[in-house]
């Protein structure tokens, strides 16, 4: 019996040993989603900070993209989140409603107030992060979408890439049709396609198109779905027409390309595709020689609306005010150098003077930064709603039904609105 008890005691001790917590450290923690160029630059920024501020070192960690926000949620809910973390713009309403973000203090960043701070940024660039008059995150990125076209394919089809590129969605369909390449009954090259790998991308396009038609996904109160309005049906028809009327795309392809929406362009499997400034770096200069970037297609090019999004840095409200202040200094350090930021990550920085910085001339012309920044300045963030992910998915499903199963746009959007209204009604 004695030995029996002894062995249990030993096991217990072993367990205790295993579960003894790691040495707690007084340092600032920063979490970010994985995105290799981004992560590498962040690491360097942190190293630089730590060298200058050995007393308040930053511990930087990044996590796989797919469940990153779920991790963040679980951590915030259990008060074990980092002191500062990167957040995507459209999750902000959900997080502020739950009071898990600390307001950003412009005065700690060297601005007089929020209005003063806004002046330093591209117009509207902070809008996505403001809730009830307070700023909740600082964006080091302002990213939008523009149209990439393949010069070679254009020339093959007898088109001039510098003149004949599409301005409107109808152009996209019309020109896309000419660029399609068939083998038998199978499309081996699409004229144009939307990325369809995730509901968020779907919403970016749909939300933008419905706005181009003068509509919105939700009404002003944010409590009712208006996606099945006339504008919504027209917006949905844009997608349906490109696939079914012009037969410029094979939507199932970009579905299957999930997590890799921009892969088909360099492979030459699609002639026109919408993606963001970071892709220029991903494709590389050799590939970019064959490509050209033009503005995001519109319904009416005179009243342009484009989608924008951004990742921004937020502060954990559960930490002391003194620590929040230090975090603000870190934030300032991180967003300080917009030129290097762009060079390292290929994402435009929302600094007002960004394009006029010395040395940006080349990027503006050779890397189409001018096109991107122009699109960004016309940009609007996604519909603000704390139920945004459900909205995205309802619209995504509606779009799947329309594009893949040729369901009537109105009918499909009615279903989506029913789902959205049900979600919005929930507390």
């Amino acid at each position: 019996m004695q030995r029996f008890l002894m062995s249990h005691l030993l096991l217990g001790l072993l367990t205790l040993l295993l579960i003894s917590p790691a040495f707690a450290q007084q340092r600032i923690t920063w979490w970010e989603h994985s995105n290799p160029p981004h992560n590498n630059y962040s690491k360097d920024l942190v190293a630089e900070w730590n060298k200058k501020n050995p007393k308040t070192p930053v511990q930087y960690d990044f996590f796989a993209m797919t469940p990153y926000f779920q991790k963040l949620t679980a951590a915030l809910s259990t008060r074990s989140a980092a002191d500062m973390f990167t957040l995507i713009d459209f999750l902000l309403p959900g997080f502020t409603a739950k009071k898990v973000l600390a307001p950003i203090r412009p005065e700690w960043l060297g601005y007089k107030d929020l209005e003063d701070m806004k002046k330093a940024y591209i117009p509207g660039a902070l809008d996505g992060y403001i809730h009830e008059g307070k700023l909740y995150a600082i964006p080091p990125i302002a990213s939008g979408f523009s149209l990439f076209i393949n010069r070679k394919h254009f020339k093959e089809a007898g088109l001039d890439p510098d003149k004949d590129y599409p301005r409107t969605w109808e152009d996209v369909g019309r020109i896309g049709k000419k660029l399609v390449k068939m083998r038998g009954s199978r499309m081996v090259r699409e004229g144009f396609d939307f990325a369809m790998h995730s509901s968020t991308w779907t919403m970016w396009y749909f939300n933008t198109t419905i706005r181009q038609y003068g509509g919105e996904v939700l009404d002003a109160s944010g409590k009712k779905c208006t996606a099945n309005s006339e504008a919504g049906v027209k917006a949905m028809n844009v997608r349906a027409r490109i696939a079914h009327h012009y037969k410029a795309s094979d939507p199932t392809v970009s579905f299957g390309t999930n997590a890799l929406p921009a892969d088909d362009i360099p492979k030459g499997r699609v002639s026109m595709f919408i993606t963001h400034a970071g892709s220029v770096a991903q494709f590389g200069p050799k590939m970019m020689k064959d490509l050209k970037v033009v503005p995001f297609p519109q319904v009416d090019p005179k009243n342009p609306v484009t989608p924008i999004y951004g990742f921004a840095l937020a502060v954990n409200p559960h930490i002391s005010e003194a620590k929040q202040k230090i975090v603000h200094s870190v934030l300032k350090h991180v967003v300080n150098d917009s030129k290097t930021w762009y060079e390292r990550t290929s994402y435009p920085h929302p600094d007002k003077n960004f394009l006029n910085l010395p040395g940006m001339e080349e990027a503006r012309t050779k890397r189409y930064l001018g096109v991107f920044v122009k699109d960004i300045s016309n940009g609007r963030f996604l519909q603000r709603s704390d139920k945004i992910l459900e909205l995205n998915q309802a619209i995504h499903r509606a779009m799947e039904r329309v594009v893949l199963k040729k369901e009537d746009s109105k009918k499909s959007l009615d279903t989506a609105c029913k789902e959205i209204d049900a979600a919005l009604a929930k507390k």
Partner: protein, 320 residues
């Protein structure tokens, strides 16, 4: 000041209380004879595992059960709402869809597994040249980790991926597996089967090898043919294994999560949104933990019922 939010705390006193409860429970008759000592011993052997499960399984499970009656967005304090979550689920067509997707996936994966795995085991139980190598080849997917499986198969199902290349060489057109409502779930099911066969094949093989040779020899002498031997000797003697495989394959199939997460995000049009994914999404993306908890209670009850039925069959099959 840290205000306590969330689901509650495990206080040390609670642990102590439950431990003392277990203590008295295990003591049984309380006689100090050898045999109550033995009873103690038996209980003591189970105790570490039990304590672990109480802390890391039952307690969270109870919390989940409790949460299913609350509205809880993970960040604000939970609000008691009675059966509201269950009502919401009942009214939510997406939940119904998910439930049936899960049922389809579960049986879609496990039923072929039962047969293919048995076939594989029978095959590998034969004497043939290079058997060791062939066995290894078949069992190898056991060693591949889930996340790698998901990534590799995602590329294999790519419109220009390996699967379509093979189909095209056979003159069958390209199928965009993960983007068609008709094919996305079957595509995931195929992966489930591919990964499940080896494990269950091994279990069957072990069962086959445990059948004493004499039974087969007796059957041969009795004039039984290959098929008769299979149905009158192999199957009845393998019954415990078969039942075990049935239960285990269903339970493991229904828990699939990583593949839909990595490969389809539940799409297209929700056709691969299995229940665990629904639960995860509702809880962590839509911030409705209470509803997610209610959904998991439904799943739990469903699985429990299913297992009970199987265990009943198992007992009828003459297995203790």
């Amino acid at each position: 000041m840290d205000r306590e939010i969330g689901v509650g705390r495990t206080s040390p006193s609670m642990v102590r209380r439950s431990a003392s409860l277990l203590w008295r429970w295990g003591a049984g008759g309380g006689k100090s004879s050898l045999h109550s000592h033995l009873r103690w011993a038996g209980f003591f052997f189970v105790l570490p595992a039990l304590i672990h499960l109480v802390i890391f399984k039952f307690y969270p499970m109870l919390q989940a059960f409790r949460l299913s009656f609350f509205r809880y967005d993970l960040m604000s304090p939970p609000v008691f709402t009675g059966l509201e979550n269950y009502k919401l689920l009942w009214e939510n067509p997406l939940f119904h869809q998910s439930f049936w997707v899960s049922v389809k996936y579960m049986f879609g994966v496990s039923i072929p597994e039962w047969f293919f795995a048995l076939g594989l085991a029978l095959l590998l139980n034969r004497r043939m040249p290079g058997r060791a190598v062939i066995r290894l080849a078949y069992f190898f997917p056991i060693a591949m980790s889930q996340i790698v499986v998901a990534m590799v198969w995602k590329f294999m199902y790519h419109p220009f991926g390996l699967v379509n290349t093979i189909l095209e060489t056979f003159g069958i057109g390209r199928i965009n597996w993960l983007s068609m409502e008709e094919s996305a779930l079957p595509a995931l099911i195929a992966i489930g089967i591919w990964r499940g066969i080896p494990l269950f094949g091994v279990i069957y093989l072990a069962g086959l090898q445990a059948i004493p040779k004499e039974y087969h020899e007796a059957a041969v002498i009795d004039g039984a043919g290959v098929f008769q031997r299979f149905f009158y000797v192999t199957i009845p003697l393998l019954l415990p294994t078969i039942m075990f495989v049935m239960v285990l394959s269903l339970l493991s199939a229904v828990k699939v999560f990583l593949n839909p997460l990595v490969m389809t995000e539940g799409g297209p049009n929700g056709t691969t949104r299995v229940l665990p994914y629904f639960i995860y999404e509702t809880g962590f993306a839509f911030f409705r933990m209470g509803e997610a908890a209610a959904a998991s209670m439904v799943l739990f009850v469903f699985l429990f019922g299913l297992t009970l039925i199987q265990l009943r069959l198992l007992r009828r099959g003459g297995v203790e």
